[in-house]
Symmetry: C4
Subunit: 382 residues, 4 copies
């Protein structure tokens, strides 16, 4: 409520901060990076690193979901993507990676091609098959649906067996008003209550929105609103949720809900706009328990996007508000997550960087590191 | 009065915000975009969308005025433009679209060509003929004059029959002091009082200026001061009215005048600087009832500017302070206004984006959406 | 004193504003530009416009000093420039205009060539001859010396006959401490007291520095510290005096000194960094009585710099901290000052723009316009 | 504590300033640059200028350490660099200067080559030999170790004879927690107490960190955290210590420790991010007693980097977070430090610029100049 400025006589607004606006500052003590614990646990599942892949076709195939799991993170399958619409999406992925994307006409053409590729129906058989492939590899299985499709597909998903259920939209609210005649919207609270698997849901970008999602019984809340590399929501919708502020707000909701619920700790998962290892560090510094990464993992040699990155917004039927972006390839998933780093630009050895940032500032686990001192100092690229 | 900063010991100034400085943030509830009402009514006229075309030759011909009207918006003819000076302006428009505009010499040459094209006298017959063409198509008829020409031409315009009368200048004040020997300036209050058609007048960029215009009896006030893509007033005149602040100030004047007048609601129409759908969203969020669009519509395949955009400032005789800018072509008027969008950059499906922004933040009509929460977070393009 | 921020625990600093940080906003009334008075008087001399040329070789030759005077401004000769060192500087000016300036090596080479050209001794005969040429043309005669040379050359200058005497350095203080063994520094107060012609002196960039200069008896104070297009003092010296703040501070000193002195009005002349007409408008809005223009006039077809612009800092013997910059040519001195404008970028018709800005905001003379409302809104170039 | 802003409900942060955010402003008096004293003394050692070279292979060879010493500064050898690992590093330096550095692949390749070059073991014989070479030249001898290597190599260094001992890491704390099984970390307090030579230690970037280092008995504290041209810590680690704030904070620690210790003055040495002479001026203005320069000296014709510049972060085994950057060559060490300057961009005659900035603002020695007035005015490059 405080920290509002007057935009004009009839309107006030709060000053909000992006991750680029802030930086972590070193404090008194230093520690050895090896002493740092970067492990993370949600519900019954323990992870060696607080990294979740964004459920996007450019990032996660069944194979990369397994690979991420084996490296200690969590790979989430997009259950509305090419892998559940096409028996063999590889030729399509090849084709998409060869579409040009420079001029406005080329972008329009690529958009149309994506729209076509995603117009194929979702095949429940394939949903089951893709999840089974991950399960068979022995890693934690997670799949994501949009709120719109959850009512229709959740049973297929649960029957196929998932450990974690992700409901992810640009923005998800605990209460949704649907058009008359439209299918009744998902009652999140009831749905989560009845489901036997823990649910991660979002994005939410404000204290209130997050608090309401926490009250639905979710195990984790995704923080964000289309802030990632592949989104253009600020230009197209005028909507923007600067991440540093959003994470800190949702972390405050976590604390207040912890009290309100008598001890239920809902995980705060920053989702979007963390392309470099420094961004992961800052997200945790603002209060995140874990991060959901898109572009950062799309740069892997194994990534199905072959150096390109896109989200569902890029192929929306009548209001595309995301873009297929070229992110290039910098190394294997292992090099990106655990190093060794080969380039000094924050695209490799994300966990090593997180460890070092914690060591340098004297914190030894992620929960503590959420308290690290930060400064506001807008970034001035040279 | 508050929120002033000290520029130096002898001067204070208020912090003002542009649309780029702010963003809408999602709140708790979400709704289906189909449920959103984006309709707008001014005086007796109802529109399916809150969009008015800027009366500029690059945007509005009689044909595009009709097309915009049929799509649910309001097309306003520039009654001092090429269409009322030339029997057939098409060859001129062709020629203008082929003028080069890169170097300073080319801009000067283009400026001279525009000055010539606009030096032809306005033909009252053509004024009547162009308005009739729109009226015959069955859509709402609107024409714009500058304050300087209103005294001379208003009778022609009213006789030809307009539904809405627009008086538009870079800045229009309720009280104008003319040079001795010059024609007596328009008495806006008396003029509007005596006129039988509703008047939209502006630009105004401050609370006080807008309040005075509201007291003249205007049905709507245009908010802006040469903020559009085709203006260079900040560099040339040192004058700038950052739009977010200007709209919010004028919206406050609307509220105060509503009380003062015992219930007269004067519409606030943001005019200038809204090139992307996100800007339209933010203008409404700051308090606008409708938006007047120039560059955004000049990008239509039907636009008479053929991919170029310019305003009257570009051909001012001795102080040109606008520029012919190349905006390109992105789709039909229908695609730009109603979609489907083909590019994710905010240039198409403006109304779809507005609907979605409202749905995402849980507001169901434009008036409500004026209360949506916004944040201040300067845009950092990458 | 207020408006200070804490830079760190051991240091506070005031927030200062450049002209780019601010803009004039239109207020209620508008007026006809023809009604505006832009005339300016200092001591016994009346000018049709508040424009003084910067005494720089790229801007002022005896011929352009006369031309500027005839147009209604004041041309100030640099009495330590090429025109008082060389019988015929035209071949040198030709040569300088052909020096390349892209790479660091080319800049170094050009610096060396300038250093050579300015190492020729100043010839008192030429000083007298150049001033006489201006006097013979019947316009106000003004010449500038640096503080370092004033003791040595002032008698030559006064004997040759000047109407206004300008003492101009990067920074000039009322009190200067010289090295032991060095010539005794100029006692400004005594010098001005004894001189029969009015003195304009500067730069000063703060309230205190300006107040002290005013107390020396100066008729006008130049505000600035190497802020112009041809300076690199921020990078080289770390010194910068953002102009909006500096002008407003010095205008406050003028007001306080007016009271302290029982009615002596010392003119505040903004000097540096006003390349566009909008900058001139903003300088007056911050409190300037007149402006000293360099780059803006160096763009004239008649300018001796032939499209290039440089100051004395560019050829300093061991610490060059200015640069020869290419400003191009946009029109005649008359077009630049009085129009008609041919380009909409603020480089032509400076006085027309000033008139229009005053008219738009409802002020009718320069003194009144110093009170116009301004906003703080950092410029975001696209 | 004050000057904090709310980043979000759950997090506050302090506004911090970089050197680019501030500028020195001229005050009332001016002085002759010749009168300025820029001398600096630490412990028993007197220097004609407050300049210390960064111990980096691109800046310091035994020869350039001697050259810097003869010019009046202090050259610090990197005792873990190529000169103590290779009998003749010149061929390696040649090879490194020829590595390409444009694309990501080229950077990765260069990183690998650097990693190889630095994997050779440190030869204690060479340590002794390099230090002797400097001592034989009769200038002050200084060598730098990282905290990690100090325990292992300090005796070699002291036996070889150094006048000043530098312990330099990205961040050094008075208290370090090491992994179990790892070598016991250096007990800084005991180490410094027992050592007979004065120690300069850092970087520290906060009041508290610096105060603790001062309490170890250090003669000087390096202020910084990888802010230099060759670092990418903000992107890679999310850590950034804006220099203006860091220096002012550490200067406050110096003042408080002076009182606490009953009169021990610990020198504050700004380290990193001062590429131009204006940056050196601003560092002193914020409270620095001296500056440690990397890139600025790597631009010397004598610099071993041959126009390239890199630090130990560039060849870190698994988390490279610095980059080999091309800084070019601008003149001899003498021209860079003492002039004459040939380019006006702040890369040459650093001490001349410092003298002139002091003279212009009326301060006559470095200690006084720490009190000069500064303004906050973010730099807007054109």
């Amino acid at each position: 409520m405080s920290y509002e400025v007057e935009i004009g006589r009839g309107k006030r607004g709060r000053r909000a901060y992006s991750l680029d606006d802030i930086a972590v500052v070193p404090s008194r003590r230093t520690r050895d990076p090896e002493l740092m614990s970067v492990s993370w646990q949600i519900d019954a599942y323990q992870f060696a690193m607080p990294v979740i892949s964004a459920p996007m076709d450019s990032v996660v195939s069944p194979e990369t979901a397994v690979a991420i799991g084996r490296l200690g993170g969590l790979g989430v399958l997009d259950l509305e993507g090419l892998w559940t619409r096409h028996e063999d999406p590889e030729p399509l992925l090849d084709e998409i990676s060869e579409l040009r994307g420079g001029t406005r006409a080329e972008v329009a053409e690529a958009t149309r091609r994506l729209q076509r590729a995603y117009s194929a129906p979702i095949d429940p058989e394939l949903v089951a098959q893709r999840l089974k492939q991950v399960r068979d590899a022995g890693v934690v299985v997670a799949g994501a649906l949009s709120p719109q499709r959850t009512a229709q597909l959740w049973k297929t998903v649960v029957d196929a067996g998932v450990d974690l259920f992700v409901i992810r939209g640009t923005t998800v609210s605990a209460e949704h008003v649907a058009a008359a005649g439209a299918e009744a919207p998902l009652n999140l609270k009831q749905f989560i209550y009845e489901l036997e698997v823990p649910v991660v849901v979002g994005g939410a970008a404000s204290y209130t929105a997050a608090l309401h999602l926490m009250r639905t019984g979710a195990a984790g809340v995704l923080v964000g609103f289309g802030g990632g590399a592949a989104h253009t929501t600020r230009g197209a919708l005028g909507i923007h949720a600067p991440m540093a502020t959003a994470i800190a707000d949702v972390a405050a909701a976590r604390r207040d809900y912890l009290d309100e619920s008598g001890g239920r700790y809902v995980h705060v998962i920053a989702d979007g706009g963390m392309g470099l290892s420094g961004d992961v560090v800052k997200a945790v510094a603002c209060g995140a328990d874990a991060v959901m990464l898109g572009a950062a993992l799309a740069r892997a040699t194994e990534a199905p996007g072959r150096g390109w990155h896109w989200g569902p917004e890029a192929h929306h039927g009548d209001l595309p508000r995301g873009q297929r972006v070229h992110v290039g390839t910098v190394g294997s998933l292992e090099e990106i997550l655990l190093g060794p780093g080969t380039t000094p630009d924050g695209t490799t050895n994300l966990i090593g960087a997180l460890r070092r940032a914690m060591a340098t500032t004297g914190y030894s686990d992620l929960k503590e590191f959420q308290r690290v001192e930060v400064v506001v100092s807008p970034y001035q690229p040279t």
